[in-house]
Structure formats: C-alpha cells, structure tokens
C-alpha cells in the first residue's frame, strides 16, 4: 500500500514550502486592511490573487513572485518542498470566501462582507502563525460527503 504516494497519474509539482507561508502573511495584512476599512476593492484585489493561485498555482501570484525574486535568495537553510496541490486548494477556498464577501458588499449586505472576510482572514492568519492549512483539514471531509 506504500505505492499510494508514488502511483498517481497527475504530474507532481513541488514548491518551496516557505512560499505559501510568506503569501499567507501578506494575505493576512491585506484582508485585515479590508476588514478594518470595509473597502471592497482591497478585497477584490485579494480575490484576484486567490483566483490566480487557485487556477495556476500559488507560485504565480504576485506574492509568490515577490517571494521567489526578493525573499527566497535572502533565506538561509534548506527549503523543504511540498506538493503544490494543497496550497492551490487552499487558494480556491480563499477565492470562494472572497467571492461571497464581494457579492455581499455589492448587494449592500455589509454583514456578509464582514463575516466572509473575517473567515478568510482567520484561515490566512492560522496558516501564517501556526502553519495551519484549512484546505488540508477539510479536504477529506469534503471527499467523504461528496462521494458514494
């Protein structure tokens, strides 16, 4: 049964595990700003970042590019790598929160905006501060509920 980690048809891409952590810090700051100022455009900008991360991968977002060009060369130590799919899935979860928040704001329901941004902020903060990956934690539960 140990073939499970090797025997997948999908080509596996591995990224520096510190990249998504850095992105989570920036995301936390951006979402906190959106929450405090109640500015929907700050949230929309973050939503676009989430979308890029979900569709192409976190390494292609502005935060990922900044990490690779400015932060990573200055870091010491060996980078641990991780499969790109869990962080990609986490970005998709973030995008859904951002979408709900934007819809709430444009529909005039500020409470929806506040709650959705708050939830996305909680996930980003937990990842930045505790290396908690919300997507990883709920993925199996989702599979359980949606499969036969």
């Amino acid at each position: 049964m140990s073939e499970v980690l090797e025997n997948r048809e999908v080509a596996k891409i591995y990224i520096d595990a510190r990249g998504p952590r850095f992105a989570a810090i920036i995301t936390t700051i951006v979402l906190a700003t959106a929450l405090v100022t109640q500015n929907v455009w700050v949230l929309v900008a973050q939503g676009v970042v989430f979308l890029i991360g979900a569709v192409k991968g976190p390494q292609f977002t502005p935060y990922g590019v900044i990490f690779k060009s400015a932060i990573k060369p200055r870091l010491k130590g060996v980078a641990s790598t991780e499969d790109v799919r869990p962080p990609k899935f986490a970005q998709a979860v973030g995008f859904v929160f951002a979408l709900v928040a934007a819809i709430g704001a444009f529909a005039g329901v500020d409470l929806v905006f506040t709650i959705a941004v708050g939830a996305a902020l909680a996930a980003a903060f937990l990842n930045a501060a505790f290396n908690y990956c919300l997507g990883c934690e709920i993925y199996l539960l989702l599979v359980r509920f949606t499969s036969k």
């Binding site: 049964m1 499969d83 990883c136």
Partner: protein, 137 residues
Amino acid sequence: MKTYLPLAIVIALSTAYGFWWKANQGAIRTKKAVPGHRLSAEILGEALGTRATMVQFSSAFCTPCRATHSLLSQMVESIKDVKHIQVDAESHLELVRELDIRSTPTTLFVNSQGIEVGRAAGTPKRDQVLAALANIV
C-alpha cells in the same frame, strides 16, 4: 470609517483555536476508537504486526503525510514486532467512514487483535509514538 472590532474578534478567536489545534496535533488520543471495530489482514491487505500495528491513513493531497510516513516507517525498522501500514484514504472511503477518520494523516495504533488503542491526527512526535507502542502488550 474604520472599525477594529471585527478584526479584534477574528484574531482573538483564531489565536485561541490555533494554540488548541497545535497542542492536539500529533497527540495520541485514546477515546476515539469505534467500539467493536477490528482491523484485520483481510481489510488491510497486509498482515498485522505481531504485537502492534500503526495504520496510517494518507492522501496524495497531504503535505504532512510524507513526513509522518518517513518517521513511522523508519521507526519500525528497529522494532521487529510492530508494523507500519499506509492506507490511501480516498480509495478506502468505506473504512474511513466506519472509523470516522476526518483528516490525513491519521494514524491508528492497533494491537495484535486489530483493536484500536489510540489514534493521532497530524504528525506525532517520536517520543509519543514510542510511549504509545510501549503500552501495547
């Protein structure tokens, strides 16, 4: 107009949850076993260890699973009566539901009869694993 209350609430609650989650990660919990459930060679496709078995549920979609697998498989190399078996959660959903596995990695510690005596979500620490295994007679 700036409002700091929602931010304060989110950060306070997240911080509390974060510390609780961190403390529980890798900890071996003994009260989660499903009563009457037994794992066997038929179910797992491999024989159990003669004294104990660590059954690790993993998915391909799981960063800490690799680290857990490395740790546990390397530990059993020097413990002859304990086996480490890895199960792919997504292709064993029936079993995942029976055992109420909620995340990966979840490692079940079972005795020679296939009865679960403890389980750990997340990557356990070496000392915790040794202590748990020492308790299985």
